[in-house]
């Protein structure tokens, strides 16, 4: 946080008048709206900075990875996670907007879960941060409810024919996290080491956790 650094908001801009490249229309509009709302007292600059800081630095898939690693190593936690995900995730300190009501869906040899939001871009912020571009894109949202195997193949994920694919469309305020299967060959690993294997996409269902050998 750089609450008192007046240049913080501009360090990463490329549109100052000292810079040769002109600001794009959208960059200018974003800065203009912020200036107007600050001028009118409708937002404060430090709140803008703090919200960005939270979602750039504090909240991201590393949170979800800790949840998954805990569930892999602590059977009682796994049970709590599957029966009341909101509380179990809250135990690790992850809570808030776009994660008020959490449901964790567990992969198994006969079930593979995938998450989408066909109507907009609902995504479990407290455990995964903000959604990547592909998750919000028209192709993913349009196709994965109708042809998940083809989409998963594009992501490099082959799901056995005998495995039921469940596509969860986040149409309401429940937010979903996939609990992937623990990779083979990880018996000796500690929770922190396991967390490093848990990719963001494995918690959406469009990827699998890494194996120790692949790292």
């Amino acid at each position: 946080m750089h609450d008192h650094d007046h240049d913080h908001g501009h360090d990463h801009d490329h549109d100052g008048h000292h810079h040769p490249r002109p600001a794009s229309d959208i960059e200018l509009r974003a800065r203009a709206l912020e200036a107007l709302l600050v001028e009118k007292g409708l937002v404060s600059s430090d709140a803008i900075d703090a919200v960005i800081d939270r979602y750039v630095n504090d909240v991201g898939p590393q949170n979800g990875a800790r949840v998954v690693a805990r569930a892999w190593t602590d059977p009682a936690y796994r049970d709590r996670l599957l029966s009341d995900a909101t509380s179990a995730i809250g135990e690790l300190g992850y809570a808030g907007d776009e994660g008020h009501t959490m449901v964790v869906v567990e992969n198994a040899p006969d079930v593979h879960n995938v998450i989408v939001c066909t109507l907009c871009s609902c995504y479990p912020w407290p455990v995964l941060g903000l959604p990547p571009t592909w998750y919000k894109s028209a192709p993913y949202r349009a196709r994965v409810v109708a042809e998940p195997r083809a989409v998963l193949q594009e992501f490099g994920v082959e799901v056995p024919e005998t495995t039921e694919i469940r596509v969860w469309d986040s149409t309401a305020e429940v937010r979903y996290l996939v609990l992937p299967m623990r990779p083979e060959g990880t018996e000796g690993l500690a929770e922190e080491e396991l967390a490093e294997l848990v990719s963001r996409d494995s918690m959406i269902g469009t990827g699998l956790p890494q194996t120790p050998a692949a790292r």
Partner: protein, 213 residues
């Protein structure tokens, strides 16, 4: 409103992955547009989404993600009368001319905002759910004038109650009423016909979207 945002099952968009599509906030202005929308909005989530849905079909499909949020942040405040588009235009000119935008600090309010953003308010259990797990239900056919969370591809389809999620405000009436929300399980062939695969789609649907099948 059934608009371009309602994408489930639509075709002709190409592959679902492409290079460079990984970043959540690819540009600095994406981050600031995101934070502006989050901090300035006093609308319900439903009204927030409806403001984006009203952008126009082609524009919705063309513009980048946080441009939609920036649109929402400006449009919602214009509609409440708090600001005008002309005032934003004027600041565009001033910043383009080199003027330094103002800053304003409010550490107390900022701390409260961060605290609120990090606090969960889970959906309460369903008080009076009309359907039970295992019940067969059909999604009603409808054409709602305001925002809805019942996607087109489910309308008229038959599925099974998989889980009762709890009680929540109804989007279509902007939370003026509350009712049970259910996870409903649909077999792919009941949505897309016989030629489709054998997967399952689960969607969370408010009670009023459903009727006994």
């Amino acid at each position: 409103m059934d608009g371009a945002h309602d994408l489930g099952g639509m075709q002709g968009f190409g592959p679902a992955t492409w290079p460079g599509a990984e970043q959540a906030l690819p540009n600095d202005w994406d981050a600031r547009a995101f934070a502006l929308a989050v901090t300035s909005s006093s609308q319900s989530t439903h009204a927030f989404r409806h403001t984006i849905e009203r952008m126009g079909h082609a524009r919705y499909l063309c513009v980048s993600y946080y441009e939609k949020w920036l649109h929402e942040a400006e449009q919602a405040l214009v509609e409440t009368g708090a600001i005008t588009h002309a005032e934003v235009d004027a600041w565009v000119d001033r910043i383009a001319a080199g003027e330094q935008p103002p800053r304003r600090e409010d550490p107390v309010a900022t701390a409260q905002l961060l605290e609120a953003m990090a606090t969960s308010h889970p959906m309460p259990p369903a008080a009076a759910a009309a359907f039970a797990v295992g019940d067969r239900v059909r999604v009603r056919r409808m054409r709602p004038a305001w925002h809805t969370r019942c996607p087109r591809y489910l309308r008229g389809a038959t599925g099974e109650i998989f889980r009762i999620q709890g009680d929540d405000g109804v989007p279509d009436v902007n939370n003026a009423e509350r009712e049970a929300v259910y996870a409903v399980r649909f077999e792919a062939h009941d949505l897309w016909g016989e030629d489709t695969g054998d997967h399952v789609v689960l969607a969370d649907l408010w009670e009023r979207y459903l009727e006994a099948a």
